[in-house]
Amino acid sequence: MKYIYLLFFLILMGSVKGQSLTGTKGLLHVPTAELYPDKTFAIGASFLPLPYMSYSRGGEQYDAYATYVTATFFPWMEVMFRYTHQIGNEVNPITQYFPDRMLTVRLRLLKERKYTPAVLFGLQDMSGAFATAGPGGAVNYSATYGVITKNFEWQQWQVGVSAGYAFDFLDMPTIDYKGLFGGVSISHKSLKNVGLLLEHDSETFNAGVELFLFNRLQLLLGAANFDAPVAGISYRYSL
C-alpha cells in the first residue's frame, strides 16, 4: 500500500506547463513566453499529423514525428535542436527525401512579474537566417515571433494566457505560424500535474491535455483542429 501512496505522491509532484509538440516550451503547438529554470534539459518526441502541421501544408503526403533536445542555456535563453522525420518516406535517390533539421533560439526579454507578463522573442528554424539552406532550402518550420504570457489565479484554478504574433524576418519567412496566435492553459490546484490546453495556432484551433509524472516526464495528447490526433512525450532533467 505504501508503494501506491509513494507513486501517488511522485505523480503529484511537479508543475504543469511543458514542451509543446514543436519541442520548445509552449502549449500544444504554439509557443509561450515561459522558460524552464536555468540548466534544464529536455529530450522528447512528438507526432505531427499530416493535414495540420506546416511540413504537410505544402502538399506532403506523410505524417511526421519530431525528435528534439531542448536546453535552457541561460536563464533567459532556450535553445532547441530538432529532427523531423516523415513517417514511411524513405531516404533514397528516388524520393530525394532527407529528415528536416531545425535550430530554434528563444530569448526571454522580460520575466513575468505581478502585473506584467513575460515577453519572449523566438527564432524558430533559423537556417534561413544563416542562409545555410540555400535558395528554396529546407526552412519548413521557420517562424519569427514575439509572444507574451501571463498567469492568473482564480479560486483553486490557475490559468496561463499567451498571445503572440509571427512575422517574416530577414531571410526567414514565417511558415509554422502566420500572424496572430495564442492560447490558454488551465490547471486546478488539487491536480497540479494535469493541464488543459486550448489554442489557436494562427490557422486552426487545437485542444489537448498534458500530464506530468515524477517531475520529469511529460505526456501530451490532443487534437489538431479537433479532428487529427497529436501526441508528445518528453523527459526533462536539470544539471
Binding site: K39, A71, F74, F81, L239
Partner: protein, 402 residues
Amino acid sequence: MMKNILFIFTLLISFLVSSQENNLIKALHEDGFENLQSFTAAETLYLSYENNRYRFQGRGLAEVLKIASKEVSGLVKDLVVLIKYKDIPVTVVKTDLETLKKYVSGAVSYEAWAIQASFSLSTDKVYAKFEGQETVNSSFYKADIPVGVNLEYALGDFTDGVKIDLNLTPELRTVLGKGLTASFEYHTRVANDLTEYNYSSPNVLKASQDIRLSENKFLSFNFGYFSSQRFGLNVRYINYVLEERLAFHMNYGLTQFAYLNEDLELKYNTFERQIYSAGLTYRINKFDTDISAEYGKYLEFDIGYKVSVQRQFNEVFIGFFFTKTNSGENLGFNFQVPFFGNKYLKPNRVRVRPGDQFILDYNYSGSNDVGSTYNTGENFQNNLKEFYPQVLKKSLKKILAQ
C-alpha cells in the same frame, strides 16, 4: 621551571599537530588521493593533493575538505589546500577550519562558509612553501587505461543519410614525472562508413610535457603521433590574466602525414604543415561561460577565425561555434559529457576506467574541413576548466554540505 613547562607544552602541541597531519595524510591516502604533502605553520595547516579518484575535481575537493574537517582539530585555525594535476599546482583554496566544520556538519549555510573562503589560480607563493616536504603516494609510473568512445559523423547523401565512424578508444596513459605524460590511444573500429581507413589503428602515440610558468601561465609540448594521421610537434600556451576570467592562448603545430595501413605498411609524405592560432577567452563566471575568439591557420592551409560560446555545467560542456576561413564557413554546436561512474578505482600500478569525456561536434552547416585541426589526445590546458576557482567553489554548494 616555567621554561620547562613551556617547552613540554610546545612539544605536546607539536606532537598533536604532527599526529593530526599524519592522520589526515593517511585518511586521504586510503581514499586514493595522490601526491600528498602537508605541514603546519602558524596555526595554518597546508595540504596539497592530486585527485585521480573522483571523476569531477569538485567532488574530489569536497571529499578532501570533508576528511580534513574530520581529522583536523581546533589546534589548527586555517586550512590551505593546494590542488595539483600531474603534480603541477593549479588552484589554491583557503578556509577557516571552524567555519568549514560547521558547513560540513550543516550548522551554517553555504553562503556563510563561502564568504570567508578564497579560491585562486595564483599558487606561486603557496607552492613555494611546500618545497622540501615529503610526498606520499606519488602518482608517477602508474598505468591508467581509460576506455572511451569516439564518434565522428557527417550528413551523407540520399543513399546513406548519416555517415559515421564509431570507435572504442582504449588508451594507455602514464605520468612519468612532473607534467610529463606518455600516452598511446588505439582506435578499435566498431562501425565506419565515413572514412576510407576502415580498420583499427593507433590514433595517438605521444609524449607531452606540461609546465606551469610563473603568474598563471601554462605551456604544453606534445611530441609524437596525433589524430588525422599527423606526426610532429604541437605547442600550446595559455596565460590567465584575471584569474580564470580572461585568458590569452596560442597554439603552434608542425606536422607531417603518415599512417600504418591495414597490412602495417608505413604510408607517408614529406610535406610539412604548420598550423598556428592565437586568441582570447573571456569567462562570465556567473554562468560559467567562455566566449572565445581566435585567428589562425588551420590544417587544410585555410586562414581565418573561430568564435565560440561554451557553457560549463560542472563536467558537462555545451557550446556553439562559428568558423570562417578562406575555404568556407562552418556553424554548429558541440557537447562534452562524462562517461558513467562518479568515482574510479583507486589509482594503482594498472587501472582500467571509463574514458574521460564523450565529445561530439555537430556541424549544422558548412564543411568539416573548414578550420580543422588534429587531436593530440588528453589536453592538460583544456582540462584546467574543472580546476577553475569559481567552478570549484560553486560545485561545493551542491556536493559538500550534508
